[in-house]
Symmetry: C2
Subunit: 339 residues, 2 copies
């Protein structure tokens, strides 16, 4: 079907194109009766102002962009992303804003997409996730001059707003809880070392280990997949000086790690305590159920979208918005150490 | 930052706007050296052809639209949607196509979004999910003349392509398996009755019940939420003639139903067999693990995206693409009946 044009309206209403233009733009030059007839015809044939024409006049795209540089299949099984996306979508949708999504290989490809979307006016703003140490996206976003919100923080992101949770305090609370239970050999199966949130958690573990005198505390890096989470757990449990407790950086990896412990005949929690850094129905359904650092990830997504709406409303006002700190919920996977 | 214009390039390169226009459009009228200088400046200041101007010329939006009329919070915990979306995104992203997403209240709002996106050229095509009986979206999409793919089927959708799985055969296989185990009191906790996939499953249960002489077979409708799944299970287990087996229309509802059985002291599988219509890590992690109708939902999403790409390449060629039939995987939640 061809898009209806002003000429189509003019023909159907039996008036000139100029009259249609006057009527549609609310300008004088046509009678009230003619204006009403023109508007009725426009409605009948589903005429809308052309977004292209509107964009030339500076109108909005009514969409916010989100580019994800992680494997697509992982996204489908990782509860964190599904819930973050739901929260973002719910809030944007309530404002009639679409979420414009793409998955890419790496940060360079992500930046190329940003440039394209901005120059082609596909989006009014960008939500950035998985911030890296010295992340090149911040400078690009500032140079492009597009409103942006970083999910994660609380670093300085120039003029870019951020929404973040205090991972450091959450990690400290988990380590301190394990220390109270008598654990001294604590391991951390973490995400990618270039991510800021991974570094913050690893640093928190090191700091707590120094303060509480836990010389064997250490972080093993993974790509967040259940496969690498399982492999890291096997390595830890097969080695000398097996840890008595492991903190996993996601519920998906914690569940995979629990599976490895069962497979290797290591009893949870009596020989190994497990804490998941992220709670979900996954963590609650396992047997034993998992002690977890819990927060409302859906709400986190809503808050990120709200921060985006605030920046869209007034791009000069940026702020760091701190959300609730994940809090520890003790379930069946942790117990006092026996040695 | 203002979007760079042809005037900016002209000023920086020290030439006229006309010369820039000639150079950028590959037309004669400027020397090779000037053309090279102009293109270098355009690159430096990140100039791109204006999407609005391109759209006026009929260029593509490089995006496919998906509108979901289900509660956002449910989407975040339902593994089916997360994996379907991942598959869609992975395939579209590999073709540099964005997924343009919005969540709405109902079908009327969904249609309004379709009209807006099409008239504003936000998307090149639409993916339709949760098809209803006599779904009004099919006629709207045909009238709008936009390429579309229906996920679910296998009904006649006019000139609209579809990607579907044989829910009927899958449901029959589950009922026959339960009948072989000796179950005669079989209940079905289903989704929304206006959905075609719900109706197909309920009808398959009725047909199997007639053939196998299972007079107490019945479907209870829900909105797919874990809350209504739990409520339906409570009603079934508290009533006279308690079913000896329940088939749930999603893994999320099956897990909720299992929780209700435990809470009411009904032993699974010895007093109640449970089958989940959809498999996932959720179904595998419960205790007992759930017998499930299983398929690769990620791949289902990829196939839907591929069907969309085919229609975008040639809108005159529509087809019904049948994907793998979900097959029954027996786990710990089903056993022969004792009575």
């Amino acid at each position: 079907m061809q898009r209806p044009t002003i000429a189509d309206i003019a023909r159907r209403a039996g008036v000139s194109k100029g009259a249609v233009s006057f009527a549609l733009n609310g300008r004088p030059g046509v009678s009230a009766a003619t204006r009403a007839r023109i508007l009725r015809v426009a409605e009948e044939i589903n005429w809308r102002p052309h977004s292209a024409a509107r964009a030339l006049g500076g109108a909005r795209a009514d969409a916010v962009g989100l580019v994800i540089a992680r494997p697509a299949r992982t996204l489908g099984v990782e509860p964190f992303f599904a819930r973050l996306l739901s929260g973002l979508q719910a809030e944007f949708s309530s404002q009639s804003i679409a979420l414009h999504l793409m998955i890419v290989e790496d940060t360079q490809a992500e930046i190329e997409i940003y440039r394209r979307w901005v120059s082609e006016r596909r989006v009014d703003g960008l939500v950035l996730i998985d911030l890296k140490v010295r992340d090149p996206r911040i400078a690009v976003v500032e140079q492009l001059g597009i409103p942006a919100v970083v999910v994660g923080g609380p670093g300085r992101h120039g003029r870019v707003s951020s929404v973040w949770a205090d991972d450091r305090t959450a990690m400290l609370s988990a380590v301190e809880y394990l220390a109270v239970l008598g654990h001294t050999r604590i391991a951390h199966v973490s995400g990618l070392p270039e991510f800021q949130h991974t570094q913050r958690r690893s640093r928190a573990l090191r700091d707590a280990a120094t303060r509480l005198t836990l010389p064997r505390a250490r972080s093993l890096h993974t790509d967040f997949s259940d496969a690498q989470g399982a492999a890291a757990t096997r390595k830890l449990l097969a080695g000398a000086n097996r840890p008595s407790a492991i903190i996993f950086d996601s519920d998906l990896m914690a569940v995979a790690g629990l599976g490895v412990a069962l497979e290797m005949g290591v009893a949870v929690p009596h020989e190994l305590s497990i804490i998941s850094f992220d709670d979900s129905v996954l963590a609650q359904l396992t047997h034993p159920s998992l002690t977890a650092l819990s927060r409302d990830t859906y709400r986190f997504g809503v808050q990120a979208a709200q921060a985006m709406m605030a920046v869209l409303a007034d791009p000069t006002k940026t702020k760091n918005h701190k959300t609730e700190t994940p809090r520890l919920i003790a379930r069946e996977s942790t117990s006092p150490t026996r040695n």
